[in-house]
Amino acid sequence: MATQAEVAGLPARYALVRMEGFPFIPMLILASITFLAVFADVLAPYDPEVGSLGARFRPPAWEARGSVEHLLGTDHLGRDVLSRLIFGARVSMVVGFTAVIFAGVVGTGLGILSGYLGGWVDQVIMRITDTWLALPALTFALFLTAIVGPSEMNIVIILGLVYWTRYARVIRGEVLSLKEREFVRLAIVAGCSKWTIMRRHILPNVLNSAIVLGTLMLGVVIVTEAALSFLGVGVPPPKPAWGLMLADGKKGLMVGYWWLTVLPGLCIMLMVLSANLLGDWLRVKLDPQLRQL
């Protein structure tokens, strides 16, 4: 107890101590990807969805047949790979963040309800969570896309519906221990309604865990989106999504057009790796309880 208060009250000159191990490079990568996503219209040299069939399968500029016109080459429809990668950042960002937030809001809400109210509410929510978890995430997502059809909006909803259970489980566990704490009991004695307690006393205390989980989920969500797009049930073509580019890249794989496969994958890797590193750091900093996760 005391140590936590002391840490919180550290003088400003110790601020750096708390930044120890801050993942600068991952932050930089995420910031750059965000920058690319926001200013894609200005930064991309070509329209990502229009190509010229005369310029199909051009290799990157530094290869023998490459030219500076298309720095990272072109794909099977002659579309500029660099432009598609830049616009793809937008798709990944938008889908990743909104899906994580959507799943987080639903999962945290239900987790709090489940943990605090207990009884049949808890039973119902936990049984649903169990059922959900028995379906592998990707299978589940495949299903939902078969039902609603692929579109960017649907992918967000689907990923949210698939992944809320992860939050619900963890948050419920935390609420169970929180509700035995003094301040919650005092709030009950003071006559606060259940709703007020959940909103004012429980929610702020589980927010850290929710944020940490969200950061760690970002990577998972982006990979799943890419996998769905790769299987042809994610973001519909011709929209430039990294997973979709990988699926298209298969057309040139066996003849060695490596840039169509390697580059989009590198982008996914950089983004997911950065999100994971950031999440790892946040976990240690914000939430000692989650350290063993």
Binding site: A146, A227, L231, T261, G265
Partner: protein, 306 residues
């Protein structure tokens, strides 16, 4: 104890029942399978006849009842598309999935356990740091991309390995690596933390005080105990591997259960989808239940809590 086990089995049955209901409704929302199965230009009468044959003309609760009754009798129904019993279809694919999962598991343990131990023995050392990078990469790289890059190198450039299909051990190497890396990372992390916990315990201190050589302390005393949680996780992961391999199977055209499910969803082959999802779900639910019960046997605190 008995009441705990009964309750736990009850919950598992309930989960499976909910899963069957969910999946049954979900597949039916995806659309009408007959439109994909009839010949182009078939008359409405043909379509209706097909609907009657598959029992799709019945009200949905009647369909569900029929499905559950035959399920209880061990009959998972006939595939709409292949026109063969679904369970047979499942059994023809299961060995492939098992083979892939086992190979991926062997790989993940061969990499994960030694590197986890090395990392725990020298915390912060070279192996610890490279292990961290390896596991973070494993957790961050999409398995299908790993598969594609492997094909690019080993099939296209080096021409060492076949890019797709199954049959020989050479076909198995790349898919097993692509699927196993993610799990190798998880196994490494757990081995490391489990080893660290054991190495900090009293009996390890005692073993050291006795003057045993460090290699013996690690190999004989620490390793065995640290292995328990890792093997538990590996057990769960084997089941998960069988059921999540769909993307890797797609990349390498590996004829496993994931492909079967994927085709089932695409062709709206309801019985196939229901069977694959239910059998997969059952595997996961049963393994989780066994582990819970096993833990309750070991740790009385779990079974006493409400």
């Amino acid at each position: 104890m008995i009441s705990y086990i009964v309750r736990r089995i009850g919950y598992s049955m309930l989960s499976l029942f909910l899963l069957s209901l969910t999946i049954f409704l979900f597949v039916r929302v995806t659309g009408d399978p007959t439109t994909l199965l009839v010949e182009p230009g078939a008359s409405q009468a043909d379509i209706d006849a097909m609907r009657v044959r598959f029992g799709l003309d019945q009200p949905i609760w009647v369909q569900y009842w029929t499905f559950m009754v035959s399920l209880v009798h061990g009959d998972l129904g006939q595939s709409f598309y292949y026109r063969t019993p679904v369970f047979e279809l499942y059994l023809t694919r299961l060995p492939n999935s098992l083979l892939l999962a086992l190979a991926a598991m062997v790989f993940s343990l061969l990499i994960g356990i030694p590197s986890g131990i090395l990392a725990a023995v020298r915390v912060g050392g070279f192996w610890d740091r490279s292990g961290k990078v390896f596991s973070l990469l494993g957790l961050s790289l999409p398995s299908f991309w790993v598969g594609l890059v492997l094909i690019l190198f080993f099939s296209v450039y080096l021409e060492w390995l076949p890019s797709s299909g199954s049959g020989t051990v050479w076909h198995l190497l790349m898919p097993a690596f692509a699927l196993g890396w993610y799990f190798a990372a998880a196994h490494m992390r757990l081995t490391r933390s489990s080893m660290l916990e054991v190495l900090g315990s009293e009996y390890i201190k005692l073993a050291r005080l006795k003057g045993l050589p460090e290699s013996r302390v690690i190999a004989k005393h620490a390793f065995k105990n640290a292995l328990i949680p890792v093997l538990t996780l590996a057990g769960i992961n084997l089941v998960i591997m069988i059921n999540v391999a769909v993307v890797v199977e797609t990349v390498f055209a590996w004829p496993g259960i994931g492909r079967l499910l994927y085709e089932g969803i695409t062709f709206r082959d309801f019985p196939v989808v229901q069977a694959v999802v239910l059998l997969g779900g059952a595997m996961i639910v049963v393994v989780n239940m066994l582990i819970d019960i096993l833990y309750a046997v070991i740790d009385p605190r779990i079974r006493l809590e409400k």
